[in-house]
Symmetry: D3
Subunit: 328 residues, 6 copies
C-alpha cells in the first residue's frame, strides 16, 4: 500500500480522525503503559449537586484537544519562542476508568486503579473528570508503592472550597474532595485559589481548612497579590499535585460546567499560574474536572480545558528540560 | 386591598406565576395533605447509563404544565365534548422528595416516604422523575398499610425492558426497576409496551420477564394489535399502576431524555392507551420518568409530559365520575 | 409522620424543590404579607424593541436562585468573613403581577399594585422583570401613602439611557422609563451608569436627561473614575432606588437579554458598586430587568441575576445591622 | 463591467444573497407594486400568551425560503411532473409592516395598510406573522374598495380555535382572531382544521363558533374523514382566505412556535389540503403565523413554513393556469 | 495488575471510553486490516450548497454508536428474537480518510484509497460522510482489482436526486454523485427512493436519470407501493451498494443535516427496507452521509445514523449466516 | 397612498424590515454603484480547518446590524459626543459575491470582481466573510486601475498568523492569506495583532513573516505596549487595509467562529485600536471574517461584528470630516 497519497504523510486537519487526547495513541492495556504522560478519563458525575453532565467531560475535552492538532511536530508558541510537546514527550491516552452507575465507591476504586497504573509506569497522570469527587481516588492512588516522591502539596484552582466533611452521610461527593485530601498524611498542605461566593461549604469548613493547613485565596485576593506572591503560596521545593475545577474560570469562558459561579478567573491568570508552578515545582499529577459539554453549546469550555491541559503538560516537560522521566 | 384590578380575578396567563404543577397549591407539610391527586417530584438521576439530567425533570414538567393554565375552570376538550379536571378534582403539589447525591438508597427511601404520604392521605400519587430507578421506591410504597387495594398490575410504557437483575452489583439503576417490581408479591403482572431495539437488558432478561408474568409488546406489535387488543393485555378488574418512560415516544417529540430510541410511539397512540386504561381499570398510581429538560431545547418533551399527565389525571377522574375519593 | 428521614431535616440540594425565589415561602395573598423583603415577578415584555422573552425572566431568575440554596442557614462569604441573609431576614416570594397581553397600561397597573402591597407591608420591594418598562409602575408606586421615605435618588445600571420622551406615541416602552421617572416630583435625581453605544435614545434625550438632573456615566468613564468616585455620584444621605438592566453587563456573562451591547460591566464592578451603595445609602427598592432566559442557553445570565439579587439583599440588611424594619 | 464571470449568470447557491422571500425583488414603495404575489412581513407578537418571538418570523421564513433557490427557473416537482412558479409568476417582497411596540392597534393598522396596498395592486397578499392576532388586520383589509371579490370563506389550519370574544378587555390578542373574522359581514363561514387539546378558548367559545357558522375539525377527525371529505368542508365556488398557524403541525416538525401542541398534522396532510383547496377554490389571500425562529434551533419550522408558502403559491397559480391576474 | 476490579471485566457503560465506531478496535495501519466490516470516516463537506458541518459526521456517529454498547455480547432484538452482531462479526474502525481543505479532488482520492484498502482486505466498506459527494470516490473504488463482484446496483435512500451533470463547472459536489455513479460501466442501475420536493436537480436531471436506468420513487409513492413492491425495485440476484443520505428521513428525527426536506421517511420505513434488501441481495458496500452534528442539538440525528448502521450491518451478516467472508 | 400612517414616517424598530447591512439600500447592479461605502458579502468557507459555517456570516452580520437601527438619523455616541454615520455617508449593500461550491478559485475570483466594482465606484469596500481565505481576492483587487492609492500597509487583527505558504498543495485556505498578501508588491508591510497560542502556522511561518516585513504582536504584548505604542506599529502616512478575524476576540464575546482561541481581545481594546487607526491613517478597505452564526447561539458574535463595522465606518468618515469621497 505504498502507492497512494498517504505514503507522503497526512495533512491531518484538526477535524479529521479518532478523538483520543491530542490524537495521541490509545493504550487499552494498562499493563503495557510506556509513556511520559498518561491521560485517563474519569467520567463519573454522581457527586454533583446542581447540573450533572461531567460524565461526558473526557470525551468533550478529547475532541476539543484535536483542534490543536495541525499535523505539526510540536506546538510553537511565539510569545515564549518555544516549541512545546516535541515528539520526545510521549503522551498516551488510557481511555476511561470503568464507571458503575449508582455505585460511587466502585467507580472511585476503578479510577484509583487507573491512576496507580499510570504511576507504576512512571508516567505523569493527567485525569479528566468527571465531577470533582474523582479527585478523591486520584489522591488515594499516591499512598502506595506506585509513588515514591514523598509528601506533596496540592494546588487547587476552583470556585468552591470543597471542604465539607460530611452532610447527610455524604463524604465522597463533589463538595468533599479537599477535605478528604487534607486528611491524608502525605498531603503536606493546600493552596486553594479562586474560591468565591456562596457554596456548599459553610463557615465551619473554612475554619477547618485553615486549621488543616490550607491557604484560601479568592479571585480578587489573587489579583491584588499579583502572580509572584500567588506563586509563593505554593511552598518551594515540594512536589505539587494540581487539581483544576473548570468553574474556577469566569462563566464567560467556562459556562459548560455544573455549578457556574460569576467572578472567576480569566484565561491568562490561570495559564500564568500554571506556567509558574510548572517552572518552580515538580508536578506529580494533574486533574481537570467538571467540564460538562452538554452545557457548552459553543464548545468554549472544552476548548479551554484542552488548551490548559496541553499547555500545562508542555510547561511541565519544558521545565524538565524535555527529559521524559518522572522522578519527583 | 379591595380597590385594585385583582379583586375581579386574575387573567393568569400561562407564563405568569410560580411553577407548581398545573399552578396548583404547594403543600410542604405532607402530614396535612388533603387532596385527590398528590404530585411528587423525584429528582434523582444517579441511575442513568447515558445522559443524566432527569433531576431537572420535575421542574421542567411543572413549568410546562403552566402552558395549559389559561385561567379557565377545567379543561374543555372538544373532541370528547368533556371538561376535564373541574374544580372538584383537588390536585396539590407536594414538591420534591429529598435527594442525597452519591447515595442511591437514601434518595430512594425519601421518595418512598413521599409516596406513602400521598397514599396515606387517600390521594392518587403522581410521581415525576428523575430516572426510571425512582419507580423502585414508588412500587415499594404500596407494601404497607397506606395502600389497601390488593395486588395490582403494572402497565409500563417504555422503549426499554428495564428488567436487568444485577450487573456489577447494580440492582437499583434505571435498567432494573421492572425486575424489582416483578419480584413483589403484590404485583400480579406486567404489560410492557413500546419495547424496541438494543438496550441494557440482554436476551436472558426477556426470558426472565416472560417467566415472571410479563407480556412484552413492541411498538410495531402494538400497532398491529390495535388499541382494543392492546388494552386487553391489561387484565380487567385489576388495579393498575402506570409507569411511563418518556423514551417510549419517538425522539421526534421526546428528544429530551437520557437514552432516546428511534421508532417510538406517537402522541395519540399513548394518549388513547391511557384513556382506555383509565376507563377500564382503577388506576392507583402513576409515574412519568426520564424527562431531561436540558436536552430539550424546544421544550417539546416537557410539554408532552405535562400534556400526558394532565390528560391522564383528567381521564382517571372522569372515569370515576369526578368522584374524588381514591378507593381502588 | 415522625419516623422517616425528613424528621431530621432535608439536605435540600439546589436542584430539589419548587422554584420560588431563594426557595423562600410563596405568599399568594398580598394582604397578609409580613416580611422584610418581598420579591415580585413582573413578566411583561411588550415594551421591547428587539428580542422579547423577558416575560420568562421571573421564572428563570427564581430557578437560578435555587443554585445558591445548599440548605445552610445564611450565606457565608469568606472574602467579607460575613454570613449574609441569616434566618432573621425574612424574604417572601409574592409570585407574579397579573399581565394582560396587548394591554400595556393594565399590565403596568397590576405591577404597581404589587409594589404598593410590598411597601404597605413594610417590606423592601424587589421586582424581577420583564422588560425595563416595568420600572415605570414600580416608581409610580412610591407616590402614595404606602411609602413615606421622601424624595429619592435613582441609581440605574444599564447599557441604555432609556430616556426617550415619546416616539410614534410610545411613552411606556422599554426606552422610556428613566424619562418617566425623572418626571416624578419625588425623584430627586438619577445616576445612570454603564451607558454606551448606540441606542433608542437620540442626542436630544441625553441633553434632556442632563437638564432633568441626571448624571450619565459610561463603562469606561466609571472605570476611570474608580469605585469611590463612582459612589460619590450617588448623593449621600438620600434614599436610593436601584434599577438594574442586565444588559449593563458584558454580553460575555449576560447574553440572555433583549438588546445585548458589547463593552459592558464585569461582575465585580457592579457587585462592588451595589455593596458600596447599600453601605452608604438607604435602599428603598430594587428592580432587575431584561433577563430573557430563552436566549441564555448556558444559564449564565439567570445565575448572574440571582447572584446579584441575593448579594444585594444581603448587603442591604447587613448594612441595616440585620434590623429587619424598612424605615428609609 | 461585462468581462467578468457574472456576465454569464450566477450560480446563486441557496446560502448566497440577501434574504428576501424566495430571493425575489424587494419593493419598498408600495405605491409602485406590480406583481402577482406580494409578500408582507407582519412582525408583531404582542398578542402572545406563552412564548413570544414571532416578531422574527418574517425574517426566519425569508431566510429559509432561500434554501429552495438553486438558481433554476421554476421549481420542478417530479411527483406532480410539474414546474411550479415559472418566471411569469411575479412575486415581490414588500418588506415588513411598521410595528409600534406597546401599541397593538397602531401595529395592526400598519399591517392592514400593507394588505390593502397589495390588494390595490391586484396582487395576492401573502402575509408572514407575527402572532395570530395579525390575521385581524389582514381580514379587515378586505372590507373596502381594494377587494371586490365578494364574501369569502376562511380556512384556518391551527391547533387552537382562537375564538375568544373578550377576556380582561383583550379583543385583539392571538386568541381572538377567528372571532373577529366571523363578525365580519363579508366572511361567509369558517372551516377550522387541526383544533385539539386545551387552549385559551373555553367551552363557550366552541359553541359560539358553531353558532356563527364554523365547522370545527380536529386532527383525528380530519384523518378519519380523509382528504376528499375534508376538502368538502370548504364550500365550493366561494373565494377562500387561508390562515395557517404553524402550531397546527406536530411539534416534531414545528417546534419553533409560541404554544406548541402535541398531536398535530404531519407535512403531507396539510400540503395536500392546501393543494386541494387551491385547485377547487379561488384563493384570495394567505397568512402564515406564529413561526418563532428563536425556538427553532434546527431551522425545521422556518423551513416548513417556507416550503408550505412556496408550494401553496405554486399550487394557486398552477390552478390559475399560470395566469397572473387576481380576479376572484 | 491482576488484583483489581478490571480483572473480572468492565461494565463498560455507553458513556465510558474512546469513541470508535461501536467501541470497536481502531486500526490505523490499513495494510493490516483483518476484519469483516471496515468503518471509514470521510469528513469532507466542501460539496454542500446550504449548511456545511457534515465534516463532523464521522465523529458524531461514532459517539452516538457508543450508546448502543452496554457491554453485552451481541445485540438482542426481541422483535426478531435474534442476537445481531455476535462476537464473530469482526468490525474495525479505520479512522478517517485524510482531507485537504480547498482541494476536492485530493480529498476524494484519499477517500477512494481508504475504500480500496477495505475491499482489498475483504471487509465490507462502511463509510460515514461527509457530504454526499463522498459517494463519488466510494463508487470509484470498485473499478479495480480490489473488488471482483461484478456489476452492481445502487440503492440510494435520499430526499434529493443528486443527478446534476454539471453547473458552473461543478461535477463533484453533493448534487452530482448519482450522475457520476450512473456513468460507471460497472453500475448496472439505480433505485432512488425518498426523492421529493425542490432540489438542485432540475427537470432535465430527472429525465437523464430515467434514461440512464434509474427508478425514482418518492416517499408517498413508496408508501403506496408497500414494502414488498418497493423491494422489488431492486433487481434480484444482483450485488447492491447502499447509499443513505440522512435527509431521506423526516426532519423530525433527522434535523441535523445540511438540507433538511419535509415529508421524509420515518424510522421503520427505512429500517425494513434495509432489512429486506440485506435479506435478498448481497450488499457489497454502504455509505451514510450528510449527518451534521452541530445542527443536531438533541443528538437525534447521530443516534438515528448509528442505529441504522449497526442494524444494517447486523442484518447483512445475519443474512450471511454470520459467515464473515465478503463474497458477493 | 398618502392617507395612512406611513406618510409621517416609520418607527422602523430594529426587528422590522429586510436584513440588508444597516438596513441600507441593496444595489444588485454593481455597474450602478454610487456610494461612499459598499458592503459585500463573501460567503465562502471552504478554506476552514475546523468548524465551517462562515458562509452564513454575511447574513448573520447583516441581521445583527439591524439591531442598531432605531430609525434615528445617525448614531449618537455620548462618550465621544459625536453623531456618527449621518445621512451624508452613503452606505449600500452589494449583496454577496457568487460562490461556487468545490471551486475555491472561482469563488475567490467572484469576490475579487465585487471588490473591484466597489473600488471602481470610489466606494470604501467593506467585505464580510466567509473564512479568512476571502482576504486573498480582496487584496488582489487592489492590483489594478480600480485602485490608485499606492502601496498600503495591512493591519490584521486575528488570533492566528495565517502565514502558511503551502501544505499538501493548499495555498488559498484560511491559513494562507497573510502570506499571499505579503507577496504582493503593493503591500508595504503588515502589523499582525492578537496572535497567540498554537495554530496552523508553524515556527517557520513566524520567521518568514518577520522576514517579509511583518510585526507580530500578541494580546499580552499589545496590552503591555498600550494603545499609543500599538498604534505606532502602523506606519504613519500610509494607506491601511484592515482585516479583522473575529477570533481575535476572546471566545467569551465571539464564540461563533470556526477556530476559537482563548485569551483574545476584549471589546474596547479593538474598538480603540480601530478608532485610532481611522484617525491616523487613510483606511482604504476593510474585511471582517470568520463569523459563523450557527455557533453563536446567543447572537453575541454577530452583534459584535456589526457593532465593530458600523463603528469603524463611522470613525473613518468622521476622520474624513464626513467628506464622502474616497481619496486614499
Amino acid at each position: 500500500m505504498t502507492d497512494h497519497g498517504y505514503a507522503s504523510g497526512r495533512l491531518d486537519l484538526p477535524f479529521v480522525g479518532i478523538s483520543t487526547f491530542g490524537k495521541r495513541p490509545y493504550v487499552a492495556d494498562w499493563d503495557t503503559l510506556d509513556a511520559d504522560v498518561a491521560v485517563l478519563g474519569a467520567p463519573f458525575d454522581g457527586g454533583t449537586q446542581w447540573r450533572a453532565g461531567a460524565r461526558f467531560g473526557p470525551r468533550g475535552v478529547r475532541e476539543a484537544s484535536t483542534l490543536f492538532s495541525f499535523g505539526h511536530a510540536g506546538a510553537y508558541d511565539h510569545e515564549d519562542d518555544a516549541t512545546y510537546l516535541p515528539a520526545d514527550v510521549r503522551i498516551v491516552d488510557m481511555g476511561d476508568a470503568d464507571i458503575v452507575h449508582t455505585a460511587t465507591e466502585k467507580s472511585h476504586d476503578n479510577i484509583e486503579t487507573g491512576v496507580r497504573a499510570a504511576l507504576r509506569a512512571g508516567a505523569l497522570p493527567v485525569v479528566i473528570g468527571g465531577d470533582h469527587s474523582i479527585n478523591i481516588p486520584c489522591i488515594r492512588a499516591y499512598d502506595g508503592p506506585e509513588y515514591s516522591g514523598g509528601a506533596f502539596h496540592i494546588l487547587q484552582i476552583d470556585a468552591h472550597l470543597d471542604f465539607v466533611d460530611e452532610r447527610h452521610g455524604v463524604r465522597h461527593g463533589h463538595g468533599n474532595p479537599m477535605r478528604r485530601a487534607a486528611e491524608q498524611s502525605y498531603v503536606s498542605g493546600l493552596t486553594q485559589v479562586g474560591i468565591r461566593n456562596v457554596s456548599s461549604t459553610a463557615r465551619e469548613g473554612y475554619a477547618d481548612a485553615r486549621a488543616m493547613g490550607s491557604q484560601i485565596i479568592s479571585v480578587r485576593q489573587a489579583r491584588r497579590m499579583g502572580l509572584e506572591k500567588l506563586l509563593d503560596s505554593v511552598p518551594a521545593g515540594v512536589p505539587v499535585y494540581i487539581t483544576i475545577d473548570i468553574d474556577a474560570f469566569c462563566p464567560s469562558i467556562a459556562p459548560g460546567t455544573g455549578t457556574p459561579s460569576h467572578g472567576g478567573f480569566l484565561y491568562y491568570e490561570v495559564l500564568e499560574l500554571l506556567q509558574g508552578v510548572a517552572g518552580r515545582n515538580s508536578v506529580i499529577g494533574l486533574d481537570l474536572v467538571e467540564v460538562a459539554p452538554d452545557y457548552d453549546p459553543t464548545g468554549s469550555t472544552s476548548i479551554l480545558a484542552a488548551q490548559l491541559l496541553l499547555n500545562t503538560i508542555g510547561f511541565i516537560f519544558h521545565a524538565r528540560g524535555q527529559s521524559p522521566t518522572l522522578v519527583p
